[in-house]
Amino acid sequence: MQVDTPAWIAALWVTLKLAGFTTLILLIVGMPLAWWLARSRSFWRAPVGAVVALPMVLPPTVLGFYLLIGLAPAGPIGQLTQSLGLGSLAFTFSGLLLASVLYSMPFVVHPLQAGFAAIATDTLDAAASLRAGPLDRFCSVVLPLSRPSLLTASLLGFAHTVGEFGVVLMVGGNIEGQTRVLSVLLYDQVEAMAYTEAHVLAAGLLVFSFVLLLLMQWLGRRTAVLHG
């Protein structure tokens, strides 16, 4: 077995960086969005909810394709980023990050939305009558009560980003140290008939995903016991 260690480490680093930043951005963007989806009675709730859920059913290549067109120098996002002096984001880490945020959004927003929706209106009204303002209520009631959903959302967002392939290939390409992630590296190994290396990578990703999901199950049970 001939492992190209620097290439592997680079791919691992890109993967972790991508998954980490994606999760972070999604928590920041996803919390207000999930709050709105859980509490709003607006007409737009259903359409927005459907758009957020789209990546769950859409072939990743469809999302990747549209993003590639959009990010290209002539595309709408491309023109915007160029006028800001950022150049085109296609085949860059930033473009990949944008794609990942969109692609993993439902996996973060849905658990948060379910957690927020489970908080009784009475509980929030009681906090308001106890002199807690809106931000205070969010920090002192909503966040502690949705801790299990926050954890689930973070783990799912992270794991799902690590598991990306189609979107990465379309938008990011396969540039070592910038856009080549583990799943793409695995694909390369298979293409090169390096099955031993492919086995190591595949087994690694499998174990990683399993451990993460196992963790979620345990956390889910612990909180069920706490709140039961």
Binding site: D122, D125, A126, A128, L130, A132, S140, P144, L145, H227
Partner: protein, 357 residues
């Protein structure tokens, strides 16, 4: 008569679908006002609107000299000095009892003495470390009461605080409600659809129906009026104030009321203590003469003032007992047999006198 400075003005409108709430009422700035009405009449919505929890409600609210809402002004809920107790207590599930008590207390900046006082009065010390989900329904409402009171509110709003409890839990918490009524020193608005709670707790009564206030006035006056729907209910009753004269070894209380001397069974009460009694119309029968051979203890001379036919062949007789009102529910046949006419002198035989409090 000059209004006391602390009158409560509540003038609120709200439309939700086909439901319209429209109230314009002044309530006394002290004592317990009970808002009574059937489910869906808007009484809870009105209470929530006073607390600022109904953003769609418009109008004006002035509580204890503070303006909380006006046409161009709306104080958000968390800036209103209100103590609110919800039907299902709404304790914060992630905090223990002490955490729940301190949540509002800390934010309101109330004194440590107040916190200690209500923990003691409502006997919460043994519960402080407990989590809400491990408490009984009655305990939860006690915590909710204390949690509201330790914020030093200007008004206490209680939204059907007993309706989620069974009869036993209810009787457990009622003495605590009495303590709150006596010691809180702030006006209380209490929403309920249970007539027993009205009879027991109300100083002032507001009747609501379909989003509107149909009548408002001193509770005993309103409870005993015959032109209000309360008098036509199956459990129509009069509520009288009474004073304990004596309590014998068998648990029989001798009471003095405006209607005359009455006897009732009940727990020991100190002589001269005041309480309310409730006499249901269906527990009162009428006779032309005073029977000496009856086992009934409570027989009062009365004057028949009016007869009202009720659906189902029954007749409600309104009586005057020495100036106090009394109701009797009798059959149509009895009215004919005894040839009852308004103005007749009769004897009211009372089967049961319920002690409230």
């Amino acid at each position: 008569m000059a209004e006391p400075a602390c009158t409560l003005y509540i003038q609120l409108q709200l439309t939700r679908g086909s439901f319209r709430l429209h109230t314009d009422v002044r309530l006394p700035g002290q004592g317990t006002t009970v808002i009574f009405g059937p489910s869906g009449c808007g009484k809870s919505t009105l209470l929530r609107a006073i607390a600022g929890l109904e953003p769609a409600a418009s109008g004006g609210v002035q509580i204890a000299g503070e303006l909380w809402q006006a046409p161009q002004f709306r104080l958000p809920a968390h800036r209103r000095a209100v103590g609110m107790v919800f039907q299902h207590s709404a304790l914060l599930p992630h905090l223990n009892v002490e955490g729940n008590l301190r949540y509002g207390w800390k934010r309101a900046g109330a004194s440590a003495a107040l916190l200690a006082q209500w923990i003691e009065r409502l006997q919460l010390t043994p519960l402080l470390a407990r989590r809400p989900h491990s408490l009984s329904g009655g305990e939860r409402q006690r915590v909710a009461l204390a949690r509201a009171l330790v914020t030093a509110p200007k008004i206490l709003l209680l939204d059907e605080p007993l309706s989620a409890l069974d009869a036993q839990r209810r009787s457990e918490i009622l003495p605590f409600l009495e303590t709150v009524r006596r010691d809180a020193g702030i006006p209380i608005i209490y929403v309920t659809h249970a007539v027993e709670e009205v009879a027991r707790l109300a100083d002032y009564l507001v009747l609501m129906e379909e989003g509107r206030i149909t009548s408002a006035g001193p509770a005993l006056e309103l409870l005993n009026r015959n032109d209000l729907p309360l008098a036509l209910r199956d459990d129509a009753a009069v509520v009288l104030e009474a004073r304990v004269i004596d309590h014998d070894a068998h648990g029989l209380l001798t009471l003095h009321s405006a209607a005359g001397t009455l006897y009732a069974h009940g727990s020991a009460h100190a002589p001269d203590s005041a309480l309310r009694i409730r006499i249901q119309a269906r527990d009162v029968s009428l006779a032309l003469s005073q029977h000496q051979d009856s086992s009934l203890l409570n027989v009062l001379p009365v004057t028949l003032t009016a007869l009202t036919a009720l659906p189902g062949g029954q007749v409600q007789a309104q009586l005057d007992a020495n100036g106090a009102p009394l109701l009797a529910r009798i059959s149509h046949r009895s009215v004919e047999r005894l040839a009852l006419q308004p103005g007749m002198s009769l004897w009211a035989q009372i089967k049961a006198v319920a002690l409230l409090v």
